[in-house]
């Protein structure tokens, strides 16, 4: 064993790069790990230490577990043979879903793919390392999302009663992330359910729709509706739902799926604005208003409707246009000192100041 170790060490020192190659059938760059880590990942940690460690002190101190190199070589060859078999099956498969599934299976245990996915930015992905056009990365991201992001969003939607106040329920299929790219310069993803200042929400949000299923995205279009179910209806002593923003006929790809100013400017004329953006202008002394962003697959149909009125029945709308809800996001807005300025900017009348009703005025 010692001798073989020495031989492999010598080979490692002499060779300019690893000889291992996975059975990949495409030359997508994201199926290879970056050259900086690749040799260490596939042939074992060199004597200079793991490249992923920055400090020389820790590099020197580091030692791999005993026998990992030999075990890895065997495991790699075994998994590679499995991958080859899966690729051979995929070549014969006719159903795109089945094909995607087989291709996922073929690459799922590729250490380079796993390395790329584990140690690179997953939400704002660089296609050099994580390319969601490849079904394997979609599968990995889906697992990653289901472990935390999906649960968090669903919990927020349910505890804040966005479900069933806006739509009855949601079976999440895509990851929806939200960010406000506007005059504030703040560059941060909004956690579902967060209370945002009226300044931050002055201009429309940017929505990222990450699809995971194997779909024909060249044909399918998307709709985004932002609704506010907490508009006070003083006359009836209740609340009503209004639409804050609506976009339809949006087309996305697996990587280019961020509906932000850059995309909206680029695709101008290709999408339809159902209604212009009305920012949150919560009223003084009322509880925080919820703004629920719903994302729908609208299929191949074109949705060219334009609304004039803000009062909105989202359930009726979804039923009328046969929209399929795939994901949602929520933020909340409370009255603050800046609301007055937002109202002035949008030419809205002055806000109403409310006081809690004392006594027993019933709903009906």
């Amino acid at each position: 064993m010692l001798r073989s170790n020495i031989i492999s060490q010598c080979r490692r020192l002499l060779s300019t790069g690893t000889t291992k190659t996975w059975a990949s059938k495409t030359t997508a760059p994201s199926l290879k790990a970056s050259t900086h880590y690749r040799d260490a990942l596939l042939d074992g940690i060199p004597s200079t230490g793991p490249p992923s460690l920055r400090s020389r002190k820790y590099k020197q101190r580091y030692s791999s577990p005993e026998g990992i190199n030999e075990a890895f070589d065997v495991a790699y060859d075994f998994l590679k043979s499995k991958s080859e078999a899966a690729y051979a099956k995929a070549a014969e498969a006719k159903d795109p879903q089945e094909k995607a599934q087989l291709e996922t299976q073929a690459e799922l245990h590729n250490p380079e793919v796993n390395f790329n996915f584990a140690y690179n930015e997953k939400l704002e992905n660089d296609t050099q390392y994580i390319d969601y056009e490849l079904p394997v990365y979609r599968e990995l991201k889906k697992k990653h999302w289901e472990n935390y992001g999906q649960m968090l969003t669903m919990q927020r939607l349910e505890t804040l009663a966005a479900i069933p106040d806006t739509l009855p329920t949601l079976e999440p299929k895509a990851e929806i992330s939200l960010k406000f790219q506007n005059h504030t310069g703040v560059n941060r993803w909004v956690e579902a359910g967060k209370k945002l200042s009226s300044n931050a929400t002055t201009f429309p949000p940017s929505v990222k729709i990450q699809e995971f299923d194997a779909l024909d995205l060249t044909k399918g279009k998307y709709t985004i509706l932002i609704v506010n179910p907490d508009v006070p209806d003083i006359e009836n002593n209740t609340y009503k739902t209004q639409i804050a923003w609506g976009l339809s006929n949006l087309s996305i790809t697996y990587n280019d799926n961020f509906i932000n100013p850059a995309k909206l400017l680029k695709d101008e004329g290709k999408y339809n604005e159902i209604i212009s953006y009305l920012p949150p202008v919560p009223e003084k002394n009322l509880p925080a208003q919820r703004f629920v962003t719903w994302v729908f697959r609208q299929g191949e149909q074109s949705l060219d409707i334009q609304l004039q009125k803000r009062d909105f029945d989202i359930r009726q709308f979804v039923e009328d246009f046969k929209l399929e809800a795939i994901g949602a996001h929520i933020w909340r807005s409370e009255w603050d000192l800046n609301v007055r300025e937002v109202r002035e900017l949008y030419g809205l009348p002055q806000g109403t100041v409310f006081a809690k009703v004392k006594g027993t005025r019933r709903l009906r």
């Binding site: 990942l41 577990p65 495991a75 390395f115």
Partner: protein, 150 residues
Amino acid sequence: MLTQTTQGSLKQPTLQLLRGLRTKSKNSRVATVSAATQRIITGLSVLSGRKKYPRILKLSNEDLIRHDTIQAAWAQYQRDIRTDRQSVLDKQYDSIINAMEDLKITNMELFKIANKKEKGKRFPLDARIPVDFPPNKVWHYEVKAPAEKK
């Protein structure tokens, strides 16, 4: 309640009836342990949590992925073995069913005998399991139990 006391007679222990004397811990959920065990428990409670467990292996990013790959390969290998074994069992089961169906058609009497429930009848434990390579020497007659020390 009867309690042994040394009062009354020095030699003879006496029983005295006492009412309301508590002999058990009030909290019945607290298990009483021996002094030795208690000593170990106290000793462990003094140690910090980290020292009670072996240290977590610190793997570099590359080694962690390599480790995961090995795990995945091993799981796949085990799965293959399981599926192979299951497929053989399935085939055997199917062929039994088919044979019985044939038997049912050809001879109902034989079918009934073959499927008769034999309660209490088991495969003999001392029967030799048929193997591909039976030993040449069937029984080691000369082996004797070692003499017991007195």
